[in-house]
Each structure stands twice: as C-alpha cells, then as structure tokens.
C-alpha cells in the first residue's frame, strides 16, 4: 500500500533506532548497538518477559523491551537513573531470593546475574535474605543441577523444548515456592535423556546448570566478565557458548 517495509521513527534514549516489522524493541536495540539490560532474554529463543530487567519507558509507559513490538514514533527511554535503580532492585531481589554465594560458585566470572549486578553497580543485596533450602541434583553423570542459583528465566526450559526437542525442564509451584522441575517420575536429572551436548545444558545465565569435571579450568580472574562488561558480551550476536 505504499507503506515502507522498514520504518525508521523509533528513538531509544534520543538515538535513532531503525527496525523492521516483527522486531521487538530489544531486537532493534541489540541490532543498533543500544544495550538494554536483560537476563531471561536470549535472542536465540522466544522472548519470555519474566525477569523485567529490560523494562523501558515507551511513550511514558513501562514495558518489557523483549516482548514489546517496535512501532512507528515510539519514544523509548532505557538508560535512565530511575529505570537503572529499579533494575538494580530487581537484581538485588534475585540475589536474596536464591542462594548466590559468588566466592563458592563455579560460574563466578561467567555469570550473567553477577555481571548484571556489576553493570548496575550493586554494592550489596540490600534486602533481607530468604536463605531458602533448595535442592542440588547430582544424579546425572555429566551435569549438576543446583537450584540455589536458579533465577527462573526458563532459558533451559525453552532450549530443551525448542532446540533439543526433549522437554526435560519445566517450572512448577507459585510465588516464592516457584521452582524448576525435571521431567522424570523420580524428578531426578539422572533419570532423563538430558545430555551434556544439549543446548539446554549451555544456556543457563547463572551456575544452576553446570557441566561436571569442568570446574575451574578457567581460573577466577580470567573469565568472561572479569574482562568484559555484560553490555559488550550480550550485544555480540550469537556469541559462542563456553565449554
């Protein structure tokens, strides 16, 4: 009908960001090199919209950038003190809800939760810790599952369903009792057909899913976020997974 296929009238923090039909604000931002903090989003999977870190102000209303389609004339604000303060509070809540003890975690330095907290300049978790008892499942010969570190992003759920075609993971329970479950009668990872080569074994943003016998091969201090800001890492398109 004469309408251009490529619209060009969205701005994020005053910067002109082009987008095409079907792209979300996050898609367009990542393509244009504009960083919007996120944890549950991974461009390789359908958006989930659960972590809320990517909430931006769209024409004055708050929306999750990973699920909101980009549209003509949108004025988006992302990197503002108010939104970053809210993002920091969300990360702090994740820290006190789980049991995230960085010095004792093999994912330290490669953990996106930790890196997001660095980016948002989190000095302390601020809130009262829950210290909830959460299960560790070491039944699988090649993979550890440590629910202390799970932030319920559902990336493993999505990867197992969409890429591996196995449906190994799911989320169950409500509220503070929400937790990752394993699709086996016993509930144990060792009783599933999950494999260390599965996509779902390599998408966890924290240390909840770890490959066994890889511990500390890369020393603390030489890991991804020891040298790179999370914005650099997450803006790289399709970065290779770490072994």
């Amino acid at each position: 009908m004469g309408a251009p296929a490529m619209s060009n009238n969205m701005t994020i923090d005053g910067k002109h960001v082009p987008f095409s039909d079907g792209q979300t604000i996050m898609d367009a931002a990542l393509a244009a090199g504009v960083y919007i903090p996120h944890l549950c989003h991974n461009p390789q999977f359908e958006p989930h919209g659960s972590c809320k870190l990517c909430v931006v102000s769209v024409n004055g209303r708050n929306m999750t950038a990973c699920t909101m389609p980009a549209a003509e004339d949108m004025v988006v604000a992302s990197n503002t003190p108010e939104l970053n303060r809210d993002r920091k509070a969300l990360v702090q809540m994740l820290f006190v809800e789980g049991n995230h003890i960085c010095p004792a975690c093999e994912a330290s330095g490669n953990c996106q939760l930790q890196a997001a907290a660095y980016y948002l300049e989190m000095q302390s978790p601020h809130y009262t810790h829950f210290y909830q008892p959460r299960a560790v499942d070491a039944s699988h010969p090649d993979i550890f599952l440590d629910l202390n570190r799970c932030i319920l992003c559902e990336l493993c759920v999505r990867a197992s369903r969409e890429v591996d075609g196995k449906n190994v993971f799911g989320i169950s329970g409500r509220g503070i009792g929400t937790h990752l479950v394993v699709n086996a009668a016993s509930g144990r990872l060792g009783d599933t057909n999950f494999a260390a080569t599965d996509k779902a074994a390599h998408v966890c943003p924290t240390g909840a899913i770890l490959i066994k016998r890889q511990g500390y091969r890369i020393p603390i201090g030489q890991r991804t976020f020891d040298h790179h800001n999370i914005s650099e890492v997450q803006m790289k398109p399709q970065e290779p997974e770490h072994e």
Binding site: F95, N99, H100, I101, C102, P103, A104, C105, S108, G109, Q114, A117, Y118, Y119, E121, Q123, S124, P125, H126, T128, H129, Y131, Q132, P133, R134, N148, I220, D226, N229
Partner: protein, 181 residues
C-alpha cells in the same frame, strides 16, 4: 600550629577468614601512607580488645553467633562510619553455605560422627558464644554506611576506597574494582 587530628580506624573479623584483613595488609608500602593518616583503635594489628570512639569501623565476616552481635553493636555504637568489607559481611558468604543445613545436623556431622581428641562430644563450655541457626550479613543486624564487596577486595580496591573515605570524597569504585569473588 594545629596538628591535624588523625582519623581513628577500627577493624574486626566476625564469621570471616581474615582474608580481607590480609588484603588490607597487601597494600604493602602504602601502609606507611595509611599510618600517616590514621591511627588504629581495635584491630587484630593492635590487639586492643574493645572498640572506642572511632571515625571509621571496618567489619569483615558475617554474623554467626552471639559474640559477633556484641562486637558488631559495639562497632556501630562507636564508629561514625561503618563499612562492611568482603562477601561474608555483605551476603554471609561461604559460612552462609550452612544456612540450608539444620544446626543440629551440622553439629552432629562436625563433632559426633567422626569424633575428636576428646571423644565424640559437642563443645558446651559456657565461655563459647552461642551459635545462630543461620549466618547473617552485617546489614541485617545493624545499619551499614558503605559496602566494599570482594572475596577479598583487592589491595588496590581497599586503598582506593579508604583514601576516598579518609580524604572526604564519596567512595567510588570503578567497574574493574567491583567484584564479588
């Protein structure tokens, strides 16, 4: 001439490993610069047993027993500025790994199943402080003014933080200095 009064500094380790103190000592020759600016009150370096009125108090380690609370409250009462240093003071840290284990189960595992030189018994001398069911970060017990994360924070990080504070600037860690491990 008015000789400028030195900043008075106290430090302690609660449920910590003294690693943060070791990292403080790791500023090496800058210790002389530090001593030109501060005088120590209670610290493991002076062996003073109680904290008197101070400008800055630095607390390492989480709160795992009743004695930790007494020390921490004494610091809060006497220090104008209280700093929580290291992962344990800020999150409970490695000692907080026991928080998901029942205290009685912990005691049995440590003292009863294997036994020690004195046989299988749980220490119950009245001099021993009562342990808490969980290890708590210091900010869940008293108000904390500043946090200095790291396990431990590097000597450079501690030096940057302390010099900012002593020289009257709002302490600011650049992104390479903010680490939780």
């Amino acid at each position: 001439m008015n000789e400028q009064r030195k900043i008075r500094l106290a430090t302690c380790s609660l449920a910590g490993c003294f690693g943060c103190h070791m990292s403080l000592l790791d500023i090496d020759e800058k210790l002389f610069d530090l001593l030109a600016m501060v005088e120590f009150d209670r610290t493991p370096f002076t062996d003073i047993k109680h904290c008197g009125p101070c400008d800055i108090g630095i607390v390492e380690g989480g709160v795992s027993n009743a004695e930790n609370v007494h020390v921490l409250k004494e610091f809060r009462k006497n220090c104008k500025v209280l700093v929580a240093i290291g992962a344990c003071a800020i999150t409970g840290g490695v000692p907080a790994l026991r928080n998901n284990i029942d205290l009685w189960d912990c005691f049995q595992e440590v003292y009863l199943y294997e036994g020690g030189l004195e046989g299988n018994q749980i220490p119950n001398d009245p001099e021993l402080p009562l342990p808490f069911d969980k290890v708590y970060p210091v900010y869940e017990v008293v108000k904390v003014d500043y946090f200095l994360p790291g396990c431990p924070p590097s000597a450079d990080t501690i030096w940057k933080f302390l010099t900012d504070l002593i020289e009257g600037r709002e302490p600011k860690l650049d992104s390479a200095m903010l680490r939780y491990d």
